[in-house]
Each structure stands twice: as C-alpha cells, then as structure tokens.
C-alpha cells in the first residue's frame, strides 16, 4: 500500500462481499419460488425477495465502486485521501441505512413502509430497482455527495490522470442520473421514459466509465504496460460505449407508448453496443499479451480477462440477441430479458468489482499477492461462479425461447401461468445451477482465509 488512506477501501470491500452473499441467498429463494410457488409465503413474498435481491446487488456494487475509488484515487493522484475520516463515517452511514432498508423490506408490508417513510411527501417508491424509501434515496444522495467531495478534492490537489478523470466522470454521472429517481410523474409513460434515465444511463452509460477505469487500473498494475497506451485505449473504448449507449436507450422505448421511430433509432444504435465490449475484450487480452512483467497476482489477471469476455457475452451478445425491434416485439419482458440481465450484470459489474478486490485486497493486507494456494482456490471460485452463470443464462434463455414460442408466437397462445408450468424444468435446472454459483461464492470467501507463503507488498 503506497498511501495510508487507501486502507479505508478495506471495509467497503468486505461489506460488498457480505452483501453479495445476501443477494445470492435471496436469488436462490426467488429461484425456488419460481417452481415451488408458495415457498416461504406469506413470510417472504416473491416481490420482497426480488426487491432484496436487486437492491442488494445495486448497493454492493456501489460499495465496490466506492471502495475501488478510495483505493485507486490516492495512488492515481499520488496523494493521501482528502479525508479518510469522512470516508469511514460514510461507510457506516451507508451500511446502516442499507441494512435498515432491507430490514424494512423484510419486516413491514411495503405499503406500510411507504407510509412510515414519508412516501406521501414525494412519491418515488414502487418502481423497479428504485423501491427504496424516500429517506433511503435522500441518504444515498448525501453519502454519494460526501464521497464525491472526498475523492474530487483528492484528485484536485494531486496528479490528474486520465483513469482518475474517467472514474470521476463515471461516479459523478452515477450521482447525477440517480436524481431522476426523484422524478415520478403521474403520467405512466413519462414515468417510464425518465425511469430509464436512471436505469439505462447507469448500466449502459456512466457505470461503463467506472468499469473501464477499474479495468484499466488493474491492467496497468498487473501488466506493466505503459500508462499512456492503456489510457488512450480507455478513451477509445468509452467513446464507443457512449456513442452507442446513449441513443441505445431507445431500445427501451419500443413498446411503452413512446413514438414509433424509437424502434429504428433504438435498434440501430443498440445493435452497435456489442462493439465497445468486443473492443474491451481485445484490449484486455492485448495488454496481458504485451505484459512487461509477471505480476504474482494471477487471480486478478484472470478476473480482468474474465470481465472482458463475460461482459461481451452477457451485455454484448445476449443483448444483441433481442435488441432489434422485430425480435424484441416477441421477447420483451420474457425470461430472455432475465437471461441477458443476469449474465450482463455478472460479466460487467460483478466481475470487475471482484477483479479490483482481487488485486487490492492482498495489498491492503500487506502483501503483493496472496499465497499460491489461496490464488488457486480463488481461481476455482472464478470458474465455478462463471460457468454457473453461463448455465443459468443458457437455462433462462431456453426457458425464454419456449415461453415466447408458447405464449407469444403461437396461433393459439397459452396463458402466462400455463406457459410457466411448461418451462418449470428449466427453472429447476437454473435453481440447481444457482446452488453451484453459491458454492463458488463460498469457495471465493474461503480463499481469503487460506494461509501460505506470501511476498510482502512492494
């Protein structure tokens, strides 16, 4: 560790992994409810489990991003963090607020929670992914502002590298677009239109800047390739990302009351969205092939390469599969969407956060890399989780194709529930694969406790 204040990243990473476990457990509950409908009913209805599953995902990724920023920014700016105390204070506030929100979801009926937390003052709840009570949303804004203040001040007083600037831009964009979660017009079409400004412009916009910056940072560290080279490719990749991704928002404007021309604009630009992901994969492999040193942390390199490949498959290929309007007409809102969502989130964001954790955690614990034994175990967890996710995606895709066929494409369409019964075999297979994923996650966590010969950090 080059700067003392980088240490604040550690609790963020630990919390991220802890919440990740929670996310997967609730995912398994939901997966079981898909086939055993009354499982845990009425204690944990499906909608509650799903809210916990998706909100935990968002929150733990945010913890990961913040931890990554706290780790990277001092090293990039070549100066201590503006205020480590503020960073630690925000950690506890965010963790407690997040935990209270989850407890709220699980213990009180959602309508009561809305009433208790002032939803009547400003109605923002009850929209997918933005289910958080008003006070939690305000809390997120406060924490985000304090966090952005902290790292922006650090960059301002230190060296301004491209990676730091791209990361800052992504994080500021994340905060700015979150403000649209406070805008909930009573007109449902307008509501949906601007809801996507949070959701799409996050995951297919500013989050990808964060992703690019994290990946570039790790690649510089593990390959020793010139910063100049990596940074200019970073710019090219995020340019491609934004010129396709911003108008690509249009692929969500096909069937929600928005004008017809979005079918063309959305199809054309989102059809090109795989290109930046492909470029990222080529970039990652290229840099590793041109490496000028053998970094002892093999696991981090594996995660970096994995991010490129899986993001391309999940976000690029699986996104392209159903992004053209004539195809999407049949697949919209089916299990195909679920398949794409799972692999894209895992491939792009889960893996990049695990990548930076994999690189930074050993350093934070005072060594250049974990022992060989621990790394082997971590790589096992990589393959277990990744392969499990590939199969989850394949099973959901199969379920989706069958669903579309029976319920949408057929001359004698089946009802939704009758169709669900027909595809339950795939849901069972998905659930068992989900168990394998959990095993992978347990192996991942166990790898942190494996001892062995290590080298001290440089």
């Amino acid at each position: 560790m080059q700067y003392q204040s980088q240490a604040v990243a550690k609790p963020y990473f630990i919390a991220a992994i802890g919440l990740f476990v929670g996310q997967i457990l609730f995912g398994l509950i939901m997966g079981l409810q898909y086939v055993v409908g009354d499982f845990l009913f009425p204690e944990i209805p499906f909608n509650v489990a799903r809210m916990v599953h998706t909100n935990l995902l968002i929150v733990w990724l945010l913890f990961g991003f913040m931890g990554a920023a706290y780790y990277m920014i001092p090293e990039e700016a070549e100066t201590e963090l503006h205020s480590p105390k503020l960073a630690i204070a925000m950690f506890w506030i965010f963790l407690v607020a997040g935990a209270l929100t989850i407890v709220g979801y699980l213990t009180v009926p959602y309508a009561t929670l809305a009433e208790l937390t002032g939803n009547d003052l400003l109605e923002t709840m009850g929209r997918e992914f933005l289910e958080q009570p008003l006070i939690t949303k305000v809390g997120i804004v406060v924490v985000a502002l304090a966090f952005l203040f902290n790292i922006s001040m650090t960059v301002l007083k230190g060296r301004k590298t491209s990676i730091a600037l791209v990361l800052l831009l992504g994080l500021w964009g994340l905060a700015v677009f979150f403000l649209f979660s406070f805008y909930n017009p009573s007109n449902p079409v307008l509501d949906k239109y601007f809801w996507w400004w949070v959701v799409h412009l996050w995951v297919e916009g500013v989050w990808e800047l964060i992703l690019g910056a994290l990946l570039a940072f790790v690649l510089i560290k593990v390959t020793g390739v010139d910063r100049e080279v990596i940074e200019k490719w970073l710019y090219v990749i995020i340019t491609l990302t934004l010129i396709t991704g911003i108008i690509g928002t249009g692929h969500h404007y096909f069937w929600i009351g928005t004008p017809e021309y979005w079918q063309w604009w959305g199809s054309i630009f989102s059809a090109l969205e795989p290109i930046p992901f492909f470029a990222m994969t080529v970039f990652a492999f290229n840099m590793v092939n041109r490496r000028r040193r053998e970094h002892p942390n093999k696991a981090a390199t594996l995660w970096a390469l994995g991010t490129g490949v899986m993001a391309f498959l999940g976000a690029g290929v699986w996104g392209f599969l159903h992004t053209l309007a004539p195809v999407n007409y049949y697949t919209h809102g089916s299990q195909i969407t679920a398949a794409h969502g799972h692999m894209a989130f895992y491939g792009a964001y889960v893996m990049v956060v695990l990548c930076i954790i994999s690189y930074a955690m050993p350093v934070l614990r005072g060594r250049a890399a974990n022992s060989n034994k621990a790394q082997v175990m971590e790589m096992w967890s990589f393959w277990l989780m990744t392969i499990a996710m590939v199969f989850i995606t394949l099973f959901l895709t199969a379920a989706g194709i069958l669903q579309v066929w029976l319920q949408r494409f057929s001359d004698t369409p089946m009802s939704f529930m009758a169709t669900q019964d027909q595809i339950s075999l795939f849901y069972w297979m998905r659930e068992w694969t989900g168990v394998v994923f959990l095993i992978g996650l347990v192996v991942y966590i166990a790898s942190f406790f494996v001892k062995g010969e290590t080298r001290a950090a440089a």
């Binding site: 009354d38 499906f46 799903r50 009926p109 959602y110 009850g126 004008p259 919209h332 369409p413 939704f416």
Partner: protein, 141 residues
C-alpha cells in the same frame, strides 16, 4: 505526421463525441415529449387513475408482474389485463387472494376497499389504452 495516436486527441474525441450524442438524445427526447400527447392517453389521466397508479406503486406490484413488459417476470403482464379479463374479474381476483393452492405461486391479500379496487381498475384500464405500437403480440401478454 502520419500514424500518430495521441491520448489528447483520444480524449478530445471522447468529449466531443459524448456531447454530440447527448445533444442528439436530447433532441429526440424533445420530439418525443411533443409527440407523446397523441399516444400516451393523457386526456384520460383522471384523479382516479393517478390514485390507482399510487396504489400500484405502494404495493410494489412491479415486484412480481410486468407492466408494458417491464418489471418482474414472475406473474402475468398487466398492461393489457383490462382487455384480457375485464374490470369485474380483476376486482374479484384481487379480493380472493391468496389462493392458498399448495405449490402454486401466491399473491398477497392487500385488503383494498371498494374505492381502491375501482382506482386500481381505472389505472389498469388507462394502461391498456396507451398506444404501445401493438405490443403485446396477443391478449395473453
């Protein structure tokens, strides 16, 4: 002169290209906002519908159902349920939950008043009258 590839030019292209596409997106959004009144059924946006939308939200219906294809994929699409089932069926259905059928997916009991049931139906009727370019492909959603 040929063959240069500089970080500063890559950065300029990034900023220029990004601003360009944001402006283009805003222009299209501007046009969408001008076109929406003809498509989004806003002339029928009554207080009852707005109340129904709030009920929809504070009970987190989107956590199981989809609405115009967005939401969870656990329970049927409701953007066109008004067309599929009609108002009376919808109310009776909501009132009779949960079914308690063993092994089947369960919907909670929300204890809506008659007035609230009407609001919910009004909201679902509103949703079914939005011009969605003929989505979903058939009445099953």
């Amino acid at each position: 002169m040929s063959g240069t590839f500089t970080k500063s030019m890559a950065r300029n292209v990034f900023y220029g290209g990004t601003v360009f596409f944001i402006l283009l997106f805003l222009a299209l959004t501007f046009d969408s906002m001008a076109t929406l009144p003809k498509r989004d059924n806003r002339q029928n946006l009554t207080e009852e519908v707005v109340a129904g939308k709030k009920l929809w939200e504070v009970n987190n219906c989107i956590g199981c159902h989809t609405l115009l294809g967005e939401g969870a994929y656990f329970a049927p699409e409701l953007g066109n349920v008004y067309v599929r089932r009609g108002p009376e069926f919808i109310k009776a259905w909501i009132k009779s939950q949960p079914t308690g059928a063993p092994g089947r997916r369960q919907m909670p009991q929300f204890n809506f008043s008659d007035e609230e049931l009407d609001q919910m139906v009004a909201f679902l009727k509103y949703m079914s009258e939005i011009n969605t370019n003929d989505w979903p492909p058939n009445v099953e959603g």
